[in-house]
Symmetry: C2
C-alpha cells in the first residue's frame, strides 16, 4: 500500500480527560498490525463546552451519583488495561500550558511520547500539569530543551495554531474527548477506539 | 451450582432509551453459556433526572453536535449488531404507560418478550408507545389479555410499585440507562454489558 493510501486515524484528546488518558496509553498498541497512520490532535474542551452549550463542563454539571460512577468506571478500566492510576488530588486540572507544548510536539514528531508523559504526571503521579516546572521536568526527561520550548509555547504563533485546532474540532463535530476521526467518520469515547480502527474495513 | 449461588444480573432500562433498546436485544444472547440469572428492571429516567440534577434530560441539554453524533452512533451500533432501526419520528417518546405494564410483566415472568416488543414498536416500527392502542396490540400479539392488563396498569398498586422501583434505582446509584447491576457492582451503558457479565469472574 502506498503511503498516500494508508488511512489516517486522528486522535483528538484533552489532557484533563481521564478517558483520553486511557486511549493515549492504548492507541499505539491497538493500531499495531493495521495499516493506519496515527495523528495526535491535542485540543481544548473548555472553549468547546462554552461555545456548544453555553454551560459548564459535563464533569461540573454531572450529579454526584454520576461523578462517583465515572471515577469507579475509570478505576475499573485502568485495572483491566493495566494502566497505572492515582486519582488527581485536583480534578480536572488545567490543560492549556501542556496543550500549547503538545502543538509544538505534534509539528516536530514527538507528540506521542510527550502526551503520554503529561498524562502519567496527571493521572499516575498526581502532579499539577498546569505548573510549568512540572512540564519542564517532563520535557527534560524526554531530552528536550525545556526553557526554549516553554518560551516558544507562549508565542502568538502557537496560541493561534491551537485556536485553529479548536475551531477545526468544532467544525468536525467534536464535542468531547477522546474523539477519533477516520475516513471522515467520527467516534467518541475510549470505548469506541476498536470500532474506529475497524471502520477502515467498511 | 445451586440456584442460590448463581449471580443475578439486573438489567435496568427505560423504554425511551435507544441504548437500552440495543441491550434488550443483546442481553439474552450475551449471557447464554454463563451461569447468570437475568432480572428485567424497567424504570423511569425522567424522575431521576429531575431529582438528581434539577435539570432537563441529557438528550435535551445535549448540543446539536452531540445529538447528531448520538444518532449516528446508534445507527452504526444497530448495523453492527444487526438490530433493525427506524429512527422514531417523535423522540424521546413517553415511556410511562409501557413501564407500568412492564412492572406487571416482570412479576408474571413475561417481561423480556414484552420489553423487546415495546422497543421494536418504538425503534423499528416507529409507533407511539405512549399510545394505549399500540400497547394493546403488543399485548395481544404476545397472547395476553390487553384490556385486563391495561386496566391493572392504572391501579395504585402498580403505580406505587413503579415509584418504589425508581427509588431503588436512585438508592443504588443509577443515573442513566441501560444500567447493569451484578454482584453489587454498577455498570452504565450498552458498551459496558460485556464488562458487567465478566465481572462475575473477578
Amino acid at each position: 500500500m502506498a503511503d498516500a493510501d494508508i488511512p489516517t486515524l486522528e486522535f483528538w484528546y484533552d489532557f484533563a480527560s481521564p478517558y483520553s488518558y486511557i486511549s493515549a496509553y492504548r492507541i499505539e498498541r491497538m493500531i499495531s498490525g493495521h495499516s493506519i497512520k496515527l495523528v495526535w490532535r491535542p485540543f481544548l474542551l473548555g472553549p468547546i463546552f462554552k461555545k456548544l452549550s453555553d454551560d459548564a463542563s459535563p464533569f461540573q454539571r454531572a450529579s454526584p451519583a454520576e461523578r462517583r460512577y465515572r471515577r469507579r468506571d475509570i478505576e475499573r478500566l485502568c485495572t483491566a488495561y493495566q494502566i497505572p492510576l492515582v486519582w488527581p488530588s485536583n480534578y480536572p486540572r488545567g490543560s492549556l500550558p501542556a496543550t500549547r507544548i503538545a502543538m509544538i510536539a505534534a509539528n516536530e514528531g514527538w507528540c506521542g511520547a510527550f502526551s503520554r508523559s503529561v498524562y502519567k504526571a496527571n493521572y499516575a503521579d498526581d502532579l499539577d500539569i498546569a505548573d510549568k516546572s512540572v512540564l519542564a521536568d517532563v520535557l527534560s526527561s524526554l531530552g528536550r530543551n525545556a526553557v526554549q520550548i516553554l518560551e516558544k509555547a507562549e508565542t502568538v504563533e502557537v496560541k493561534s495554531e491551537l485556536a485553529q485546532q479548536v475551531d477545526r474540532a468544532i467544525s468536525t463535530g467534536i464535542f468531547g474527548a477522546p474523539s477519533f476521526l477516520i475516513c471522515g467518520e467520527l467516534f467518541w469515547g475510549n470505548d469506541r477506539l476498536e470500532q474506529a480502527i475497524a471502520w477502515t474495513r467498511t
